[in-house]
Amino acid sequence: MTFGVYVHVPFCRHRCDYCAFATTTDLDPLMGRYVDACIAELEAAVEGGELDAATSVFFGGGTPSRLPPDALARILESVPRTRDAEVTVECNPEDASPERLAAYRSSGVTRMSFGVQSTVPHVLAALGRRHRPESVPRALGAAASAGFDRVNVDLIYGAAGETDDDWERTLHDVLSFAGAPGHVSAYALTVEPGTPLAADPARHPDDDVQAARYERTDAVLTAAGYRWEEISNWALPGHGCRHNQLYWRQGEYVGIGSAAHSHRAGRRWWNVRTLERYIAAVDAGRRPTASEELVQGERRALERLMLSLRTPAGVPAGALPDVDALVTDGLVEREGERAVLTVRGRLLANALSALLRADGPSPSGAVGRARYPALP
């Protein structure tokens, strides 16, 4: 059985103006108390028998590399995990010193994820990122030297002023650096409500431009031997991210820290969003849970389909009405009894997800789970 633990680290040096994550730039003095609270939450969960041994642990943020490496190590020590657990830490390239990476390595971290975004200076500036392009090969080299053979880079396309050539250059740079990553997450810049970016329509990316860049990304990465793992993720064989796959397979995980999300057996819950409230709740011996929902029956089946549709596993062909027309339109391919999105279909996954039905004719012998819980 797979089981994941996600640890949210909400601290950032600087808030990027497209970011809608739960992050903070001015509460670094609370770091120590926050780490203690995470450990306390973990210990309470262990005592309550709520944690299985994790097959994957993921430190995400925010900026996990804002935490001193020993603080991160203390949290990781509190996470019960299997011997071969995948342990990922997100890290800004400018933070990726050999010392830090060595410390991560020795505390049990197995995988690094660098927030590269772009290798083109004016694009980085437009995104509000503070690192210089040179820090990227340096970080990749340091990771390799520290013994990390599982590395991801996060990329973002669609910043204001970015051209198709800029994006192409970023892709080629990332693939050509020594210590090139086995996993690439390439995200279309998304305008999230409430962000400074949302308030500035002049910088909003155009869907058609974004679509073209996505198609180009898939072509470049596929040519380099990567295979799509999910809409925005590609990996070389054997380099898939176990933790992310858990999400896409409706798997079970517990989130630790402010705003972290958890899922067990159709119960989804999430912690309070701000770190002050999180610390206050844990210090008071309360659960930091903000809210929860029970996803059962048809909704759960639909959720599973929706997640699976974003991956090469696809969905049972019967879950998509008029699937033959979608094949004709070039949005979907049939793989036996499964329907899998084409590159064009991936770009329209939202609309296609809205077509999904959980009560479609259920095929036999399909890959993955073909039967769904009975409708309520």
């Binding site: 279309a188 998304t190 989130g255 972290a260 996803v295 949005l331 770009l347 997800s353």
Partner: protein
């Protein structure tokens, strides 16, 4: 009166008794003391103000209770400054009983006007001295003359600086043959000349001539539905006596009803025991539907019936049709209920269920004209809180098929296949336009662009021109009046009457979305305009239809031949790039909302079209 007005609710009826000193009670008034008249006037020429002044001057309404447009009871009437339902009021002046019969003020209600005139011996022709006589006033004036009514011509608003009573008087003399010297000059606003007008009414308009001992014959010239009392009809006794104990036969409807109540409006409803020849009042006879007491109906005594009904009755015939659909399909029962209720009060519109592939279930409705259509729709939305889509207005075509069958087509989708059609006739109007002569050119241009044939053209005065055209009704229902107004700075006026049918080179334009015809957009137009119309609609739809998962062709076809093609390019991207730290809930909820949103879309084949796109496309008016 619509149900919500409740104008006849309870206490009104019992509050007053007829006891005005020196005035004979209803039923006992000698005919020579009665004067029945209506006011013929154009919108805004001051009819309602004059009515208000008359009510004041004769003491009919307590000055403290006076409000403007006293006789216009519907909100829509007050807002638009027009009279839709005929009203009547009984006032006393110089020992005479005057019955003022207020007539509807719009060309759509021409038949109602004629019934109101039939209840009178005279008409006050009221003309704004700053504007001169308008087409409809003239048409109604001719109609009054045909009914042998005595015309008392009056120039109103003489207090206005722009008033030009001499010119207007000459015009009236020219077109109606009324001596300029006989034309009164008043200001209904200030009251100047109103007493003299009442004097003229008493002196010039003949008293009614009726035979008190003859079998009862009374003319119904209006009926309204009251939720407490049922149908309340306005009635003019011609011969005999209408008494509370009568058992009445409605000669056109062929029904018999017992009188529940009769009375006069003074202007508050006031019960009476009887109404004699020449008198005007109201009648309540336990009728639940105005369709059974239509304008023009003759009422007689069931036990001693008259031999012949009064002349002039006509079944109202709808001229303009459109489909009305609830925007929310779940509101269909409410729409049906609302139509049923309005029908109680307005026998002149028709409706029957129809279904549209694009719009779902709704009703095909027939109206007397465009204003009538607008009013009904507005009342449905306002009084019954419905949101409606209306399809483009259509007229009733006659398709002559090659096998000799004739089909009446009021919905373009019902037009048989072109191969089966020998020819199609369309309804025509005789339209009379009065315009300041400086606009003659632009008016003629407009008429020519609408396939109109000029019949006559005449100067009423050096400044004013009368143009008479034969014009297809279909050309008038599409914003003709608005165009006329805007081209003449609002000075031209229009009147029209049906003028038979004529064969025309007509074609149906269909709009196809992804090769599927969308019935709601089908229209019958003249072949010369078909391509232009098709192109315009196709362009419009391209803008309105959201991008889909695939390219969507939009085609306009005339008789099966594609005349325009547009493409809604496929949407390329909508996917959410990432899930935040395992936050699946947010993504799922977004997709659940999206799924919910799909329910508000209409599917045309595989294309999802939001309701708003239909509404916007059908609003195409330029």
């Amino acid at each position: 009166m619509c149900p919500v007005d409740g104008g006849f609710a309870g206490p009104h009826y019992d509050r007053r008794t007829v006891s005005a000193s020196g005035v004979p009670a209803p039923g006992k008034v000698p005919s020579d003391r009665i004067r029945n008249f209506s006011i013929i006037s154009h919108v805004d020429h001051g009819k309602s103000t004059l009515s208000d002044r008359i009510l004041e001057l004769t003491g009919a309404v307590d000055p403290r209770l006076m409000r403007e447009q006293y006789l216009d009871s519907m909100d829509i009437e007050r807002e638009r400054g027009i009279t839709i339902k005929a009203q009547n009021v009984r006032v006393v002046y110089r020992d005479h009983i005057l019955h003022l019969i207020d007539t509807p003020g719009h060309v759509d209600f021409g038949y109602e006007v004629s019934r109101s005139l039939a209840a009178c011996e005279g008409a006050v022709l009221l003309v704004d001295a700053s504007q001169g006589i308008q087409a409809q006033t003239l048409a109604n004036g001719y109609q009054a003359i045909e009914h042998d009514l005595e015309i008392v011509a009056v120039l109103n608003k003489i207090d206005l600086p722009a008033a030009d009573p001499d010119r207007c008087a000459k015009e009236i003399e020219q077109v109606l043959g009324i001596g300029a010297g006989e034309i009164l000059r008043i200001s209904a606003k200030t009251g100047e000349g109103v007493a003299e007008l009442l004097d003229a009414i008493v002196e010039r308009i003949p008293a009614p001539r009726g035979d008190r001992s003859a079998p009862l014959r009374a003319l119904i010239f209006d009926s309204a539905y009251d939720q407490y009392r049922g149908v309340v009809s306005s009635v003019r006794v011609v011969d005999g006596v209408l008494g509370t104990r009568s058992r009445l036969r409605f000669m056109q409807a062929g029904a018999v009803h017992d009188v529940e109540e009769i009375g006069v409006r003074a202007p508050d409803p006031t019960k009476a025991d009887e109404l004699g020849p020449g008198e005007v009042g109201y009648l309540i006879a336990g009728i639940k539907n105005v369709g059974e007491a239509r304008s023009g109906e003759t009422v007689t005594d069931a036990s001693a019936p008259a031999g012949e009904p009064l002349a002039g009755y006509r079944d109202p015939k709808p001229m303009v049709f459109c489909g009305l659909y609830p925007i929310d399909g779940d509101e269909l029962p409410e729409l049906r209920d609302a139509l049923d209720k309005l029908k109680l009060n307005d026998a002149s519109f028709t409706y029957e269920p129809e279904s549209s592939h694009a719009l779902g279930f709704g009703f095909r409705c027939g109206f007397l004209g465009l204003l009538h259509m607008e009013i009904i729709r507005e009342r449905l939305e306002r009084e019954f809180d419905l949101s409606l889509i209306a399809t483009a207005p259509s007229v009733e075509y006659r398709a002559y098929l090659t096998d000799g069958i004739v089909v009446e087509v009021d919905n373009p989708t019902d037009l048989p296949d072109a191969s089966r059609i020998d020819h199609v006739d369309e309804p025509l109007l005789t339209a009379t336009i009065l315009t300041p002569s400086e606009y003659t050119g632009t008016v003629m241009e407009l008429c020519q662009s609408r396939r109109a044939d000029m019949q006559r053209m005449e100067y009423l005065s050096p400044e004013r021109m009368e143009l008479v055209y034969t014009i297809p009704l279909a050309e008038v229902v599409v914003d003709f009046f608005d165009q006329l107004k805007s081209r003449t700075k609002g000075y031209a006026s229009l009147d029209y009457e049906p003028s038979g049918y004529a064969t025309a080179n007509l074609a149906r334009v269909d709009l196809l979305i992804n090769h599927v015809p969308v019935d709601a957009f089908s229209t019958i137009v003249h072949r010369s305009q078909a391509d232009v119309y098709g192109r315009r609609m196709a362009e419009k739809l391209r803008e309105l239809i959201p991008r889909q998962l695939f390219d969507v062709p939009i085609q306009a076809a005339v008789g099966g031949r594609v005349v325009a093609r547009e493409t809604v390019k496929a949407r390329r991207k909508d996917v959410l790039a990432k899930c935040y730290g395992g936050d699946i809930t947010r993504k799922r909820k977004l997709l659940e909302r999206q799924k919910e949103g799909k329910k508000r879309m209409k599917s045309i084949g595989r294309v999802e079209v939001p309701q708003e796109a239909f509404i916007s496309a059908l609003r195409l008016e330029d």
